[in-house]
Amino acid sequence: MSEKLANDAVVDRAIASINGLHVDGGEVFLRDGQSTSIEVRDGEVENAITRGERGIGVRVLRGGHVGFAYSSDLSPDGIEDCVSAARDIAAVTEPDGDVSIATRKIDSPDLQLYEAGSEGRSVMERTNVAFAVERAAKNVDPRISGFRKTTYSDGSMTTILATTADVRGTYLETYFSVGTSAVATAGEERQVGYHGEAKRRFAAVDPEAVGRRSAELAVGKLGAQPFKTQTLPIVLDPYMGMALLGALVPLFSADSVIKGKSLFAGKIGAPVASERVTIVDDARTPGALRSAPFDGEGVTTTTRTLVEKGILRGYLSSLKTAKKMDQAPTGNARRGSYATPSRIGAANFHLAAGTVAPDLLITGLERSLHITSLLNLHTIDPISGEFSLGATGDYLEKGERRYPVQGITIAGNLTTLLSSITGVANDLTFGSSGLGSPTFVISELSIGGA
C-alpha cells in the first residue's frame, strides 16, 4: 500500500516541491469531494451512485512562462511528478509579464456554504425527496403519464488553495439538488417539462415546487400549434430569463475584452442596455449557490454592479487581466475542477429586480409570446452576440394565455435584446445554475414559424 497523505499534507508537499525548483512561484489547488445521486423513475429506484474525486492542479511560473498540470495520484511521487510536469510544460508558453500568483491574504468570512451531517443521511431519506417530486407532479394533472428521469443528488467538497507567496485558504461546501422531466400525454401527443433546484441546505430544497413546475410545463405544452412568422413582444419568466442571461456572461470577461472578442470592449461608462437593466455579480451572499470566499487563484471574491441602469460599469477579471487593465482583480477566476485551470466566470450573476408584479407587466401588452422552453442555448455566439433558438411558448393577448405554440424560433442579438428590455418585474428568482432573473419583457423579437 502506498503512503496516503491528508489534504493539507498534499498541499504542503506540492508547495514545498515548487519551492525546491528554480522557478518564480506557483499555486496549488486541491479538491476533495464526495457525492451521491439517486435516480428514480415512477416510484422505483433505478440507480444509486456514489462518487469520490480527489486531485490537485498545479500552476508554476517561471520568467513569465506559466505551466499547468493536474493529477489524481496524490502519493509523494505523484505530487512530485505533477509539479515537474507543470514546470516542464511552462517552457512552451510565451512569456507574459502580467501573469502572477495571489499575494494578498484572503478575506474569508463564513459564507454558510456548508451543512454538516449530510454524509449520515440515509438512502431512504434521499430517495424520498425524489419520490416526493414525482408525487407532486402527478397531483397536478391526470395527464402526467410518467417521467424521463428524476434525480436527487447531494455532495460535499473541500477546496484548498495555496500559493508560494504564503496565501492559503480552505472552505467546505455542500449542495443538494433535485430535478425531474415530467411527461404529459394526450392521445398520440406527448410533451415534456423539466425543472430542477439546487441549494446549499437539505431543507431548502422544495420537492413539491419542482414536481409542480415540471408538470405544469409539460401539460401546458399539450395541444401546441404552429405559429406564424412575425415579430412580437417576448415575455421571459425568471427561468427562461436566466437561461438567456447566462449567455451574457462572456461579454463581461476582461479576457475577451482585451482580446477584442467582446461587444462590450471600450464601453465602460456607455449605455449597453435599457435604463431598466441593472446587472449584478454577487459572490458574497451567504448560502448562495455560487458564493465562495476566494476564487480559483486565491483572490478574495467581490460583489459588483456590472451594469447600472443601462450603463456598463465593469468587467469580470482575473489576476492577469486586472494587471493588464491596471485595475484591482475582482475574484472572478473560477475553477471547474482540479483538472482545469481558472477561467473568468461569474458567481451569482443576476438581473436586479424591478418594482412591478409580473402580471401587471404583461397585461398591458396587446399581443405577446411567453417563452416556455428554449432549444440550443449552447449555440449562442458570445463573440457576435447573435442567437437563433428553437422555442415553445404561450401566445398571450392582454396578458391572457390563448394557446401554446411549438416549432418556432426566436432570433436576435444579445446587445439589441438588452436595449429592448421594456419592463422588469419584482420576482427575482435564482435557479440551479446560480443565475438569477425576474420576469422581464423584450419589446420585439423575430419569431420564425409557418
Binding site: 422505483e44 440507480n47 489524481s72 401527443e189 432570433a411 420564425g448
Partner: protein, 469 residues
C-alpha cells in the same frame, strides 16, 4: 497502476460479497495535453493524468455504482466495498465466472502516438494556423487555436468473466477566427478531430481547417442575416450530420424507448421515414471521432442499421436495454469517464447515400436556402422537436447558390421531417462533435449526403415584408 485479471477478479468478488447478481469494473487512465494559442501567444499549456475506477452491482432492475480516483489495489477494493455495502440485499455471496482476457480488433490505427511527438512540433502547427488565419483577410481581428490530445486506457471486467482492454487516442485541432467590420463582430470555427494518431494533422489539414474558419468569419461579417419563416432547404453533404444526430439519432437510443419516452417508441418494423432514408450507426468506422474497439461495457462496436428504406429496424443499446427490449447488443453503452454509468449513445451516425446527383438537387430549387455548415443542435426526444445551428448558408436563386446569409437555426420534428425529405444525394460528408446527454459528453461523428427538405422552419430575422404577413 495497471489493472490485472487478478485485481479485477478480487474487486468483483468483493463487490458481490453482500448480495447482487452481476458486477462490473470499469477502470481508466486518461493522459491529456491541451494547448491554447490566443492573441498571438501560446497562452495555456496543460498536462494531466486522471486515473479512476467505477464498480457497478445490479440486482434486478436496481443498480448501484461506486467510483473514485484510484492509485493502487487498495483503492480499488475500497470502491468495491462501497458498492457491496450499497447493494447489501440478501447478503448472499455470488460466485463469479473465471476472469480471462480476450483481445478485440482495434478499428482505428494509430501510426504516430501523439505522446511521442515533441511538443514544439504541436506548437509549430498552431502558429502556422495563427499566421495563415491572420493573413487571410484584413478583417480578421483575433485568432484562437486549440490543440487537445487524449489517450484513454480502459479496462472493463465483469462477473461473467469478461476482461477487455482498449486504448482510445483522440485528437482535436480547432481554429476560432473573429472578424470585425465596423462595430460588427462575427466568428468562424472549424475543427479537425478523430480517433487517430498525430499523422492526422498534416500541414495541409491544418491549413485547410484554418482557412475554412477564417473564410466563415469574414463571410459572416459582411453577410445579411438569414430570413425567418418556412423555406425549401438543401443541406449539402459538406454540412455534416448534425441533422441526423438530433432529428433521429437521439430518438433511437434504447433507454428512452424502453421507457416509452421517444417518438420512436414501440415502432420497430414500422415506417418512420421516407423510403429514401436509411440510417446507420457505425462504431467501427476507422479513424472517426466516435470510433472505438469496444463500448464502455466491453461490448464490441458494430455497424448497426437503424432505419432501412424508411423502416425502423432496431435501437442503439447498452447491455441492460438490449436484454430488456430483446434486441441484439449494438455496443453503444458509453460513458464520459469512470465517474459515470454507461448510457445508450451514438458513435458515428449517418444517413446513407442515395441515388440523386447532388448538383441536380441544388438545381431543382427555384427559391430556398442552401446549408453548407451545421453547428450544435438539441432535441426534445419526447415531442421530437429539434433545433440545430446553421453556421454557413446561402440563398438559392433559380437553382444556383446565391448570396451568403448569416447563420440561423433550423427547427422541426424528427419523424415528420424524415418523412418529408424528397431527394437524397449519392455523396457523403462528415462532421465531428461532442454530444451531451444526461450531463455526460461523448465524442461523436455524423455524416449525411446532400438532402432536399421541401418545407422547414428557418429561424433568422423577420424581414419587413414577412412581418406584415
Amino acid at each position: 497502476m495497471a489493472v490485472t485479471e487478478n485485481d479485477a477478479a478480487r474487486a468483483l468478488r468483493t463487490a458481490l460479497s453482500r448480495g447482487g447478481e452481476w458486477a462490473e469494473l470499469f477502470w481508466e487512465r486518461q493522459n491529456v495535453v491541451t494547448l491554447t494559442l490566443d492573441d498571438n501567444k501560446l497562452e495555456d499549456a496543460i498536462t494531466g493524468v486522471d486515473q479512476g475506477a467505477g464498480i457497478r452491482v445490479t440486482a434486478g432492475d436496481r443498480g448501484v455504482y461506486a467510483n473514485g480516483n484510484v492509485n493502487d489495489g487498495d483503492d480499488l477494493l475500497a470502491i468495491a466495498g462501497r458498492a457491496a455495502a450499497a447493494i447489501a440485499e440478501d447478503g448472499r455471496m455470488r460466485e463469479i465466472a473465471a476472469v480471462s482476457a480476450d483481445e478485440l480488433p482495434r478499428p482505428s490505427v494509430v501510426r504516430i502516438d501523439p505522446r511521442t511527438v515533441p511538443i514544439e512540433r504541436k506548437v509549430r502547427l498552431m502558429k502556422l494556423a495563427n499566421e495563415r488565419a491572420r493573413a487571410f483577410d484584413p478583417r480578421v481581428h483575433q485568432v484562437t487555436v486549440l490543440y487537445r490530445e487524449s489517450v484513454q486506457d480502459v479496462v472493463v471486467a465483469n462477473s461473467d468473466g469478461r476482461f477487455r482492454t482498449d486504448t482510445r487516442t483522440r485528437l482535436v485541432f480547432g481554429v476560432l477566427v473573429t472578424a470585425k467590420q465596423g462595430d460588427v463582430l462575427e466568428s468562424g470555427y472549424k475543427a479537425k478531430a478523430g480517433t487517430e494518431g498525430f499523422e492526422m494533422l498534416s500541414e495541409e489539414t491544418v491549413l485547410e481547417t484554418t482557412e475554412t474558419a477564417a473564410r466563415l468569419a469574414v463571410q459572416n461579417v459582411a453577410a445579411e442575416p438569414a430570413p425567418a419563416g418556412t423555406y425549401t432547404v438543401v443541406l449539402a453533404s459538406d454540412a455534416g450530420g448534425t441533422l441526423i444526430h438530433e432529428s433521429v439519432g437521439h430518438g433511437l437510443e434504447a433507454d428512452l424507448n424502453l421507457k416509452g419516452m421517444s417518438v420512436y417508441s414501440g415502432r420497430l418494423g414500422q415506417k418512420v421515414a421516407s423510403e429514401l432514408i436509411s440510417v446507420v450507426d457505425d462504431g467501427t468506422d476507422p479513424g472517426k471521432r466516435g470510433t472505438q474497439a469496444m463500448d464502455d461495457e466491453g461490448t464490441q462496436t458494430h455497424r448497426t442499421v437503424l432505419i432501412e428504406n424508411g423502416i425502423l429496424k432496431t435501437y442503439l443499446n447498452d447491455k441492460k436495454h438490449a436484454r430488456k427490449l430483446g434486441i441484439p447488443e449494438s455496443g453503444n453503452g458509453r460513458r464520459e469517464s469512470f465517474r459515470h454509468l454507461p448510457i445508450c449513445r451514438m458513435t458515428t451516425t449517418m444517413i446513407a447515400p442515395g441515388a440523386s446527383d447532388p448538383a441536380a438537387i441544388l438545381a431543382s430549387v427555384k427559391d430556398g436556402i442552401f446549408v453548407k455548415g451545421m453547428g450544435g443542435g438539441q432535441v426534445d426526444v419526447v415531442s421530437g422537436n429539434f433545433a440545430f445551428e446553421i453556421t454557413e448558408c446561402y440563398r438559392i436563386r433559380d437553382g444556383k447558390q446565391a448570396e451568403p446569409l448569416r447563420g440561423a437555426t433550423l427547427v422541426g420534428q424528427g419523424p415528420k421531417l424524415m418523412s418529408e425529405i424528397d431527394m437524397v444525394g449519392w455523396d457523403l460528408g462528415y462532421s465531428v462533435g461532442t454530444c451531451g446527454k444526461d450531463g455526460q459528453g461523448a465524442p461523436v461523428a455524423d455524416a449525411q449526403p446532400t438532402l432536399r427538405i421541401p418545407s422547414v422552419v428557418v429561424g433568422g430575422k423577420v424581414t419587413a415584408k414577412k412581418a406584415k404577413a
